[in-house]
């Protein structure tokens, strides 16, 4: 957070059918619907999140991610980072305050990986859902499905990981927490953090730029992950893999698909990172174990199915 980038703020996902998407994200994942706008976009959040929203769904004829945004400390930080992004060579676009309801001005840029990112400093704070700000209870009643607590991170597939790493570390102040190195010494996966989490955003090398692998949501316990798996079966939701554990980050996890084919993860646990820690390294010859610690085998679908 040395450059003032605090955390993932929101992700905007494209869905093919909004009613089906809402059934999935609200009734199965347990996100809370907080608003809608005149474009038909629907705004959601996990119940522990203080800001108004963290997931925006937009109905479109193509699945995938429109953009992922990070919240920065304040407007001065946003202005400074805007200049630094321009100096790095990013094409920038300023999205006016209010284009997303309750969100201040956003600076949009395309990373060398081909993904669209945004920075913003201000968003309406509506508080944790269902809890009082003073003397809050442990959790609110009335949560649905997996009771996802927060939007946690995205994993993105794209090209030019080296320049993407430079942008995120040198300009935005992220740390490289974990990496996968191939026999030729190339970094083929990079997990980046602006906090103590093992990843706030991660990238895997892929020839086609700008692809979306998954959006991830945090659960508290392994029992919650198992319960999520039960709910995936109960609802005949398309499963990818899990419950299992990752080698990378050591998170306990399950993957599944939304009704438009966008991959979701819910997970718990995982490693922590401080800025002085050297990156945790996995070698590509152990990639199977790095990705799925128990199976220890490469899973073709996990590596190739993207939106």
């Amino acid at each position: 957070m040395e450059k003032g980038v605090m955390r993932p703020g929101h992700v905007q996902l494209r869905v093919l059918d909004m009613p089906k998407a809402l059934k999935h994200y609200v009734e199965l994942l347990g996100l809370i619907e907080v608003d809608r706008d005149e474009q038909g976009r629907v705004y959601l959040k996990g119940w522990t999140e203080v800001d108004k929203f963290s997931v925006v769904l937009r109905e479109a004829d193509e699945a995938g991610m429109d953009f992922m945004a990070f919240k920065v400390r304040n407007d001065g930080t946003l202005s400074r980072l805007t200049e630094e992004l321009a100096a790095f060579g990013c094409a920038l676009e300023e999205i006016p305050a209010g284009e997303l309801k309750g969100c201040g001005r956003r600076i949009r840029f395309v990373a060398p990986s081909g993904h669209c990112f945004e920075l913003f400093a201000d968003k309406e704070q509506t508080g944790k859902w269902g809890l009082s700000e003073v003397n809050p209870e442990a959790w609110p009643r009335g949560l649905q499905g997996m009771k996802a607590t927060r939007f946690d991170h995205c994993l993105l597939y794209g090209d030019n990981l080296a320049d993407t790493l430079r942008l995120f570390t040198e300009v935005l102040g992220f740390s490289l927490a974990e990496q996968v190195i191939d026999p030729a010494g190339n970094r083929v996966a990079q997990f980046l953090t602006c906090s103590m989490k093992a990843h706030d955003v991660a990238f895997i090398q892929h020839a086609e730029p700008g692809k979306f692998h998954h959006a991830s949501f945090f659960l508290e316990t392994w029992d919650d992950v198992l319960r999520a798996a039960d709910l995936i079966s109960m609802t005949n939701t398309s499963i990818d893999i899990g419950p299992t554990r990752h080698g990378l980050t050591h998170g306990k996890t399950i993957y599944f698909f939304d009704p438009s084919g966008n991959r979701n993860e819910v997970f718990c646990g995982g490693d922590y990172h401080y800025p002085d820690h050297p990156p945790v390294t996995w070698t590509a010859d152990q990639l199977g174990k790095a990705i799925f610690y128990h199976d220890r085998e490469l899973n073709e679908r996990f590596l190739t199915v993207l939106t």
Binding site: G64, S238, L306, T307
Partner: protein, 105 residues
């Protein structure tokens, strides 16, 4: 309606049955067949793309990136979103070499 349709995948020569209201990919998975690669199962990733050579069907929503209008008109659709209305003959069109390996696993 409890019609059962026969699906023939021409590339592998495999046949399987598909109940009315089930997608081709869902029917294939339920019968333990692997002649088409399985991705997201929800019309987004494009992995299970097939060309329908013969028969009638309807389609659910599919990502336009993988099924542009012209492709759809030519019968190139995603098996996870194809609901047969008659017996079908299809041919797999796996989009990437790596993905096509699923069948051999």
């Amino acid at each position: 309606m409890n019609d059962i349709f026969e699906i023939t995948e021409q590339f592998s020569g495999k046949r399987f049955q598909c109940q009315d209201g089930h997608s081709v990919l869902q029917a294939m998975e339920r019968q333990g067949q692997r002649c088409l690669p399985v991705g997201c199962r929800n019309g987004g990733c494009g992995l299970c793309k097939v060309r329908v050579l013969q028969g009638e069907y309807r389609c659910g929503p599919m990502s336009s990136r993988h099924v542009p209008v012209a492709a759809r008109a030519a019968g190139e659709v995603l098996a996870c979103r194809v609901y047969p209305l008659s017996d079908l003959t299809i041919e797999r069109l796996a989009p990437q070499g790596a993905a096509a390996n699923q069948q051999q696993q």
